[in-house]
Symmetry: C2
Subunit: 337 residues, 2 copies
Amino acid sequence: MRRPDTVILAHGGGGRASAELVEKAFLPSLGNKFLAPLSDGAILPPLEGRLAFSTDSYVIDPIFFPGGDIGSLAIHGTVNDLSMCGATPVYLSAGFILEEGFPMADLKRIADSMGEAARESGVTVVTGDTKVVARGGADKIFINTAGIGVLPEGVNIAATRVREGDRIILSGTLGDHGTSVLIKRKGLKFDSPVESDSRPLNGLVREMLDAEPDIHMMRDPTRGGLAAVLNEVARAAGVGMVIEETAIPVNGNVAAVCELLGIDVLHVANEGKMVAFVPEASAERVLSVMKTHTFGRDAAIIGMVGGTSAGRVEMKTSFIGNRIIEPLAGEQLPRIC
Amino acid sequence: MRRPDTVILAHGGGGRASAELVEKAFLPSLGNKFLAPLSDGAILPPLEGRLAFSTDSYVIDPIFFPGGDIGSLAIHGTVNDLSMCGATPVYLSAGFILEEGFPMADLKRIADSMGEAARESGVTVVTGDTKVVARGGADKIFINTAGIGVLPEGVNIAATRVREGDRIILSGTLGDHGTSVLIKRKGLKFDSPVESDSRPLNGLVREMLDAEPDIHMMRDPTRGGLAAVLNEVARAAGVGMVIEETAIPVNGNVAAVCELLGIDVLHVANEGKMVAFVPEASAERVLSVMKTHTFGRDAAIIGMVGGTSAGRVEMKTSFIGNRIIEPLAGEQLPRIC
């Protein structure tokens, strides 16, 4: 029997049912003047200056987790990717792949969460698409967002600009997102909850670039964690870098869970944190600006570029001296974002 | 045993294996100066004028079909969506969701096909993302593309601009894509092959708009076919329209297959065809321009706006007089694009 409270194949057929799905599930949360014509694409007013363009597909499992869901993550993730280019995110697209039988109530909850995240981030979802695949053809829901941002003059973010002496600033505690998802997925119970850090970073980045337009490089340590980002930058820039373990902020609960499960927090995914490579002269200024922002209040200088051979990332530890930080060869946690 | 010739979970982990996948599978076919930095997003030079922004996810099954594959389709589909806005497509993003175990040779073949389609369409894939889900979490491969186009001054495509007297021009034969996929999926054998019409329409559209910038509306009849497009426009514009069955070009093999399977060709998906609503005075001029283009050589005026009540689409048939054309309520053919 057809259950009208779940997604059916006809919702992806391009006919009446598709139009109804859009009108009922998406427009109440995401509607705006650009999306309203529901045509093949959105017509947008001219944008001044260089553009940034980014895309990410979100396949996270579970789709609801402490501190967020696949909908808010799909907004934050692409807002943050544009922000890491130094751009001001403006417009987003949203492409949904739904499994037949997906509960309509969950879809509405996700659309609401996307709408709220978009409003908080100051971006507008202007165009979209929905496909439905038969039961078993996909796992519940996948969301792709692509985003367009505008790049301010004088901003030039690139790994190749990182120089010896640059200070490495981390915007806050490490490992919250990946740990929260892992706890939820494994059904573990802890006294103190761990929440995902899924957040939009564009406001924080704007203030950082106002304080120092010449920030050399920014990157959000998502899949692969901080270890992956530092190693990528070290390789791309042909520099070495040394970070200090004691300088890296980690929530107590996160540290405990990571130790319990034998996971290195440097490899855990984050969705509301960033690493910036800032010229030595302005590092303290940028740090103090960050600390006044809600999403940067735990920011810290965790190390600097130089002090070891090119391409290498070392960490000063409190016990065993320096150790080399390497990216994971494999996959720590599939479907973390 | 790990088979290195298939996609593994680590390819989506954001670490070394992910970088290798991009370098081996994607960059040879899709590499360019914007994609090269492999950062969180692409930095693009300023674009003049209004923009068009569109997205589509492609979940077609089978992924290889006569006349194309999911890769070429993912390029053509978004190029065409931008073209239907009247825009010149410029930049595309590509987001891949891969099932663990997907053959690397197939992925390379699809990337090659995307590269070729992008070159033929004159667009550049400037940013991308790859996620891998465990076996059974997705069916082989899904691709999302989003695209940015530039809208020429004076062009204003909207369903609400359609007026009584507008001529309805179809750019070529109907039903080739959907029929070819259906034949392949059902394993049917016919003496004469049916090939998908998957094609980029931006070149054709450019010439049409050069001949008549005031084209009122354009739409490519993909999911839901011609019937869906005409009904949407009739409803949005508050007009009726009448088309003539004998004026609609259909390949003989496609007509035969549709008759055999009891399918109405008006509901079958197309991927290289368009419908244009053109002012009466310039319709013949636009038609003759279309006929000189390879992708418009079978173009025909298939009807006109007016002649029946608002919101209604009628077709003059050769046998039974006028019949009402309605959109499908359900889904004719899941995963057709």
